[in-house]
Symmetry: D2
Subunit: 343 residues, 4 copies
């Protein structure tokens, strides 16, 4: 059996470990052939690939990024909803002599995997996203690393905030789902964690910040990039008509608003790309390796159309359709837990 | 309602976060009173306790160790199997005016929690152990931190091993269960991971080490302290009659045996207490905080005789009896995953 | 003898260790009394201080920030160049019963120390600044920590940049001196390091970035906040009339310019306050502790008007005037070393 | 000009960065040819070498260990003090067509460099040792990384020691010089730091430990491997006739002695090889890179018989004879600084 593997979408710590896990099992144990396409679908379109065997994946587990590269090049033409013409795609697929695909990616990539599978292309999904917004899996690899980096930033910002009696605002990733802000905020003891799922008014945010000051402390506000202020504040300068920041990140909009409202010196930090880089945590390395192994086993069993999901301490293959239907967002009870420390 | 909380057994990163989570929910939200006994049951016996409220747990989430201290002082007299006389215990319990106990500990402590509960003392368990050997929960807090530290040690040892073409042997904790060795070994790409659950012969271990050398690399062997060599090797000098090391740790016994058998210069490192100290990982901080919150809610619901368990991404209360019946050891399929990289 | 100590200006990792070092030597060994003013000169003006003895500084060495707080409140009225009226200042000083001052701060604070000393107030300076721009000392504490954090960010950004074939631009602190960018860039192997001391044209920067791409790699550009483009580029949108960025940080101006010029996808990250927070490196803890000890000894010796400077592996007391005369900027030969890796 | 480079002795974080610095300057700027011998003198003897150019050193700065490998194979036959016959050595040297040597190593290697130079072989030394025991240079690269790792271990051990009210003993490297113990102990706030240079009696050590307990704290003892107890204690079991430990490390001997004498539960940890592995600190990367650059410049200037030394913030070439004459040990005033925190 010959498998093709590629990564698509934003990178996520653990992708190298996932490839290594799949290769160790598929090539060494199952006797498959594996090739990896460079820079996502670009490599597939342009015939840019490398052979993957044990020497090729040597020492990969601790390495960030991904040796194959990744991109947002689409696999086939056509917009969402349109009829898809896969004739060119199939011609290439056949020319490579592939018996199946392992697709490493987030929500968009797993949707592609689902479409390909529905059209008869043997495909298995390996979920990766630092945003943790995929349904049907407890956690995706990359998330734990992103949370660790954000929590470390909170630990650092807290000491400088305390020394200057400042309110420190940290923006972390999360356009539609606030998982990083939720977990990093809880790990770092943030006094306010603002998530896309739960708009709050500027008045409420400032009340929390003021209350912390009144107890003699400095507050640490963690805010997901997709958070928007609720209520009247949406018309303030610096926010667009939908309450989303117009210029710079949300932290850079929020910090001066908090300072103006509370009189407390406030500083913004946007963590940015640092969150998705570097050596993965041990948790993500193990999760990614096991994800790769499970995907190789699923290929052997010809369980096409499935995705390797973490459920408890097991990796289980779930139908791709279950994973891509809807975004996994932060539920109300988890936000309530975080709010225990607010103010 | 008045709750007593204490920690018993070896310390585990995250205990402070667990206490903080319980206090934020129980005191601030549910309106309970909480006291913490110092140094485990010693504080209970001697009347040494502190009041726990929000200021008392301020800033605790990132801190290693535990503000209450911990010890192995037993809660009541009597050996396992004997009839237990709880009259003294109850007198103290009543004198403190307690309505329930939150017990933070590992297997031994949760067994105590189960016994107390069976004897009518309202008790809730919060599982903590770096060994991850408790049934009914996916992971215990402290484990992820221990694995992270061990994986970082592997990353470090690998570079010095490669430079000197040495075989490096790292001993990690795990007397009866090899979870730390399994996860750290997989995270660090160890070429051999030796677990208490799966004895191997010296010949097999050396075959793996030699095979790595023959491929031009240096091998990294991670060994759990409870591992024992299988077969003829058990009679070698340095091992007692049961195949357990007589002097020093198992790594210090294994390293010279490997060197003698393979001719490859081999060095042992015993990671020791470093594994259980220091600031917890973000994963453990979040797990511990949520464990504390769940325990506070269980006390409100008077769900005595239960333990806060991680199941998937939820904290669930499970009967203490389910958790303490048997040690959770590494199953064969997980060892098979690790063996993919052996040799 | 009674000493007053305070911190002024931006915080810098190691301030706690410096205070602890001074107290251990001055109070325990020399038998002095010490008090610490809260939030810099604010505490001095308002009588807000705490007694400093061994229990007060217990466990401080690894802690970031500073227990005394810091601020930019000035010590006395008057603008630079004007005659200074110290009568109010002296009245307070006498009321506290002080025999001398230990002033922890950067360039501005050491200038104040020099002025006070010139006016007969017994003063000793302890240099701290993450910017490392003080003359007469090899390094100031806080600098090594800031460089470490920036270098770690480079390590992280490099993996994500490589995966996406992007040019990553990292902005670090350094308004007038580029020491952090120089050292972090060299440590991280940055292909371009842009310093305030050495303006470069946009064309030159883009030539380096393109050359890296042509060798099949992704480039990492580290830029100090005070860097400005040389030549024609200063008139481009996003830069003010002096070539300084108008909105956002310099990285946010530079990244789109590079992308437009080279066609290479380019992303900016502004490291910000994270650089000055958190637990100091071992190097900074040792340097700060020794600085505190040397200041205590200088007070015993009544070597007023001096600053504790690192010279080689020794802490030496140098005249304050030598330290504050001119900013220590990056010399041309150090920039030439860094340029070895450019392009 | 053609330069040969090799590493000899124990590995030290930063060796890769030093090689990279030398190559970037010597090959790219000065136009030299460079080759690197594998595994120290073994590669020289056996003709095992690789060409060193810019692609060969790409990305090396953050990597621990050394791509060339290192060993303790001697460069030529003969014992110290004997007449040396270099005829074979010169034949090889000439066969390689070398114009000079860059030797990366510690005390032993720099002594070899000095001997070679005295015999007319053009040689330049690059000092590396985690022990920091070389004269004529402020610090050697690798030392800062070792201290950082040891200080982090202290931070970790302290939390578990406090939780259990235990005395924790940490053994760090340093057979003849106690620099790692001195700096790590000061950085971590150790209550006792025991150095090879300053023997103490068991009674004194226990008095410090007891005094810490009496103040309600747990003590952290850092001990260099070469420390020996002074006075009567040398005859105790577990120490050989010279007061050196017979079995296991000094920490494993000391811990039970402290426990027996004080009644305080005491645990030993031997940090071991972890200290010399892994990615170097930013400080060591910069120092090593600059050392390499300076060595390349010295070769251009034909300043043979010199060693690249850190003096203040400059790299200076010093005569090899100045560096190897005597071991740099911890002076009494530095030990006095550390003792401030004892007990």
């Amino acid at each position: 059996m010959k498998l093709g593997v590629l990564c698509s979408g934003g990178d996520s710590p653990g992708m190298n470990a996932a490839i290594r896990g799949a290769v160790l099992r598929a090539v060494d144990v199952h006797g498959f052939e594996m090739i990896g396409f460079m820079d996502g679908w670009r490599g597939f379109h342009e015939g840019d690939w490398i052979a993957l065997d044990r020497p090729a994946v040597r020492g990969l587990s601790p390495l960030g990024g991904v040796i194959l590269g990744t991109s947002r090049v689409p696999p086939f033409a056509g917009r969402p909803g349109e009829e898809i013409d896969l004739s060119d795609f199939r011609a290439r697929y056949d020319a490579y002599g592939l018996d199946g695909f392992l697709l490493i990616g987030g929500n968009g990539t797993q949707t592609v995997a689902s479409i390909l599978s529905d059209h008869g292309v043997p495909t298995i999904g390996l979920p990766k996203t630092i945003d943790n917004d995929l349904s049907a899996t407890d956690y995706t690899f990359g998330f734990d690393t992103a949370v660790s980096i954000a929590a470390e930033a909170i630990d650092r910002l807290r000491t400088t905030g305390d020394s200057h009696r400042r309110c420190m605002v940290l923006e972390v990733m999360g356009r539609d789902a606030g998982w990083i802000a939720l977990h990093a905020g809880m790990a770092g003891g943030a006094q306010v964690s603002l998530l896309p799922e739960f708009p709050e008014t500027l008045e409420q945010v400032c009340e929390w910040v003021t209350s912390v000051r009144d107890r003699g402390r400095s507050s640490l506000v963690v805010v997901a990039e997709g958070f928007r202020l609720d209520g009247a504040a949406v018309t303030r300068e610096g926010l667009d008509g939908f309450g989303r920041p117009r210029l710079g990140g949300v932290a850079e909009v929020l910090a001066p608003l908090i300072e103006a409202e509370t009189g407390i010196e406030t500083r913004a930090t946007v963590l940015g790309h640092v969150q998705r880089g570097g050596s993965p945590t041990a948790f993500d390395r193990v999760l990614a390796t096991r994800t790769g192994i499970a995907a190789a086993d699923a290929a052997l069993a010809e369980s096409w159309g499935t995705m390797a999901a973490l459920q408890g301490d097991q990796i289980t293959m779930v139908p791709l359709a279950d994973a891509v239907g809807r975004l996994k967002t932060v539920p109300a009870d988890r936000y309530a837990e975080a709010r225990l420390n607010f103010g």
